[in-house]
């Protein structure tokens, strides 16, 4: 049966719910795996491919068991060529499939950059909607895992600056599941950044779960004095910082953006309007990083409310350092607290 000639109805805005299951404690990686399996079950147009995603189950095991369960035509290894992985996904989407592709590590997505910028982001627009691109690119990103060169990049700013692509990144097990389901159900391309240092973090997950649509930030902790704005694996750093700050007498709010594009202005601006102070935390180099957009927006829109400059605690403006030096590069609780002190005494 032809997929293309099957009624090409757009997917429901929300993914269909899997059968309720009993609560289970699982890792973020396993939650992603579950989301893939559930999405493949729910919609036969969903196919998963990339390097080593088949028999091996991916180097982080996020696709573990999918090839065995769904067959080689639903989950398969590709030749080693990232531009053609994404290009192939684009062609499959033109025919009505919903590909989910894996880039093995963040830096190994760069070869697909032209396909991403010149086609993935533009095809729907180019064809006035005739060829939508319901494609998810999964990219493990970020550092702190002792990876050698090219294994710890954070490239969200490159993608977020490219109109036509949604960019999301989970920080919790629940969001990992739900955001990935939502990304796969989305009629638009989504770059799904997976915080690799959190792959092994565990939490309880009870399905079905719904955490919030793409485009909405989550308030992870409420506070009155200052808003910490973070995403991905900087969220735990922000939360830990808030805990320490509480001991110092500062009551911090912590936002987990979850979605960089679309950006949840409403939640972010409302929070800063409440607190009057904001600090952005991310791992990528600070200069022209995504934090610049956040700081610029907040500084402009909350101009009359801000009691201190919006500060950024980010990676340094250097090539990602080797394992033995990476702790100097990564935004630390100490650096966040230092920024909190500066903002609170402004």
């Amino acid at each position: 049966m032809s997929v293309a000639t099957a009624s090409p109805s757009l997917p429901a805005a929300t993914p269909s719910a899997p059968a309720p299951a009993k609560p289970a404690t699982l890792t973020l990686a396993k939650a992603l795996n579950q989301a893939l399996a559930d999405a493949m079950t729910a919609d036969e147009r969903v196919v998963v491919f990339g390097e080593d995603v088949g028999e091996l189950g991916g180097v982080f095991r996020v696709t573990d068991g999918l090839a065995a369960r769904f067959g080689e035509s639903r989950c398969f290894d590709t030749p080693l060529a990232e531009a053609s992985i994404l290009g192939t996904a684009i062609g499959m989407a033109m025919y009505g499939y919903r590909p989910v592709v894996e880039m093995q590590f963040d830096a190994f997505a760069y070869p697909a950059f032209e396909q991403l910028v010149s086609h993935l982001s533009k095809m729907r627009n180019r064809t006035r909607g005739a060829l939508p691109m319901p494609i998810v690119i999964r990219i493990p990103y970020g550092g702190g895992i002792g990876g050698v060169e090219h294994h710890s990049d954070s490239s969200e700013a490159y993608i977020a600056h490219t109109p036509g692509i949604h960019v999301v990144t989970p920080a919790t097990v629940e969001d990992a599941y739900w955001l990935l389901r939502s990304a796969i159900a989305s009629p638009d391309p989504v770059v799904f950044f997976e915080p690799k240092r959190l792959y092994w973090s565990k939490a309880q997950l009870t399905l079905p779960v719904t955490t919030g649509p793409i485009g909405t930030a989550a308030i992870r902790r409420t506070g009155r004095d200052l808003t910490l704005i973070a995403y991905g694996q900087s969220v735990p750093v922000a939360l830990e910082s808030a805990q320490h700050a509480a001991e110092l007498g500062y009551d911090l709010e912590v936002l987990d953006l979850r979605s960089l594009v679309p950006f949840d202005d409403a939640t972010v601006l409302a929070s800063v309007e409440r607190t009057g102070r904001a600090i952005v935390v991310h791992e990528a180099a600070g200069f022209a990083g995504f934090g610049a957009e956040i700081a610029a927006r907040v500084s402009e829109r909350c101009f009359y409310r801000l009691e201190a400059p919006v500060l950024r605690v980010t990676g340094l403006d250097i090539p990602y350092p080797p394992p033995k030096l990476e702790h100097w590069h990564l935004p630390s609780v100490d650096r966040v607290l230092d920024a909190v002190e500066r903002a609170m005494s402004a």
């Binding site: 049966m1 032809s2 997929v3 293309a4 000639t5 757009l10 196919v47 035509s73 590709t78 030749p79 060529a81 531009a83 053609s84 994404l86 290009g87 192939t88 996904a89 684009i90 062609g91 499959m92 989407a93 033109m94 025919y95 009505g96 499939y97 590909p99 070869p111 032209e114 396909q115 010149s118 086609h119 533009k122 095809m123 729907r124 627009n125 180019r126 064809t127 006035r128 909607g129 005739a130 060829l131 939508p132 109109p163 036509g164 949604h166 989305s186 009629p187 638009d188 485009g215 594009v261 679309p262 950006f263 202005d265 409403a266």
Partner: protein, 390 residues
């Protein structure tokens, strides 16, 4: 000799051979003068049937008429840019006519004539080059991807679509058009390689028109054949005379059939020539002699079929004139539409970025609408003022 046994060109550079590159013998049915080649291709009888050949000829003339008119239009400022396919009409025609309705075509910026032959309205086909939108035809309805500009990037799309069709069990083939220069890009390689690994039903047709803008083929490859690249992919590679529409239809037909029946991809190199500059903005005198162009004018693909048809008694001056008039009518209709300023709507810029616009895009759309309204208001005031003066 079947096509697939085609001996590959020597693998090491031979300057003398390289100099006469386009004189080495590709497969063909008709020679330059329109006579069947001895020991040449042997197309099936239905391809050689008189009305089939006449239909091919009509298509060639249509492609020529389209290209000629588009060239005139761009000179007069009615298109933003036009990359002409003059001299490549046999490829343009065969690429469109070898397809079944369910097959997909992946064209480049140079293949607008092929779109016209496929039946796409010339105004829709020229939307990109006119500058009013990026793609003017319904890709899904016409099973024709938007014309692709970033070189070779459409090749993996064709592979993906073909793979999808194969998975779905549909008898669909994807035909991917490329230029000789584009074969140097990494995406070409990755696409060919994965097509072969997946045994995807895709055919790559390289229109080797000897130039990538100003860069001649000898600076693009050290091999004597682009078709030889098939070896590295475990894929049949075929070199064919790109100005012989009968030979092309035959070779393409075999490749399409093989793909359709599960035999995997084929790489076809069609030897042709870009008669005009790269685009209207190019000055070909900077890098090639007109004598070279003259040589190739003598190998004209349209003439060639005309001579053959005349020789076998299927074409006479009367019919030829009639066909010419069909082309003239087509061109006139095309012109009538294209000399008009196209209507564009700025809202289009926002409505297709995503399935539903983000809040930020809604705000930007509102800003533009306010600006547009102000412009219109000013215009009306201006009109009113003018009216008052009259």
């Amino acid at each position: 000799m079947t096509l697939l046994d085609l001996p590959l060109a020597a693998t090491r550079g031979n300057p003398a051979a390289a100099a006469s590159y386009w004189d080495t013998d590709p497969l063909r049915y008709l020679d330059e003068h329109g006579a069947p080649v001895e020991g040449g291709l042997r197309p099936a009888p239905d391809l050689l049937a008189g009305d089939r050949l006449l239909a091919l000829y009509r298509a060639l003339r249509l492609a020529r008429a389209f290209d000629t008119e588009a060239t005139a239009l761009v000179m007069q400022g009615h298109l933003a840019v036009y990359p002409s396919s003059r001299g490549q009409e046999a490829c343009q025609t065969a690429a469109a006519l070898c397809l079944e309705p369910q097959d997909w075509l992946f064209p480049t910026y140079r293949d607008t004539a092929a779109l016209a032959v496929r039946g796409i309205d010339p105004v829709e086909a020229l939307t990109l080059l006119r500058g009013s939108w990026h793609c003017g035809y319904d890709s899904k309805r016409w099973r024709t991807a938007p014309q692709c500009t970033p070189l070779a990037t459409q090749a993996p799309h064709a592979v993906g679509l073909a793979l999808a069709a194969k998975m779905a069990g549909d008898p669909v083939v994807a035909l991917c058009l490329l230029g000789d220069g584009a074969t140097s890009e990494g995406d070409f390689h990755e696409a060919c390689n994965s097509a072969a690994v997946y045994q995807a039903p895709v055919v790559f047709l390289v229109q080797n028109n000897q130039y990538a803008i100003s860069v001649p083929l000898r600076k693009q490859t050290h091999a004597l054949s682009l078709a030889g690249k098939g070896v590295g992919y475990g894929m049949p590679g075929v070199r064919v005379d790109g100005n012989d529409v009968i030979g092309l239809m035959h070779v393409l037909g075999e490749a399409m059939e093989r793909a359709r029946s599960g035999g995997g991809p084929t790489l076809i190199e069609a030897i042709t020539y870009r008669i005009r500059p790269h685009t209207n903005a190019d000055d070909a005198n900077r890098y090639r002699d007109t004598s070279e162009v003259d040589l190739w004018l003598g190998r004209d693909p349209v003439d060639r079929l005309a001579r053959y048809l005349t020789a076998i008694g299927h074409l006479d001056a009367g019919l030829d004139t009639a066909i010419g008039e069909e082309g003239a009518k087509y061109a006139a209709a095309m012109r009538e539409e294209l000399v008009r300023e196209p209507e564009v709507d700025p809202a289009d810029m926002f409505d297709h970025v995503f399935a539903s616009p983000t809040p930020q895009l809604r705000a930007q759309r509102a800003m533009i609408e306010a600006e547009a309204a102000a412009v219109q208001r000013d215009g009306q005031q201006h009109d009113a003022a003018q009216g008052g003066q009259a």
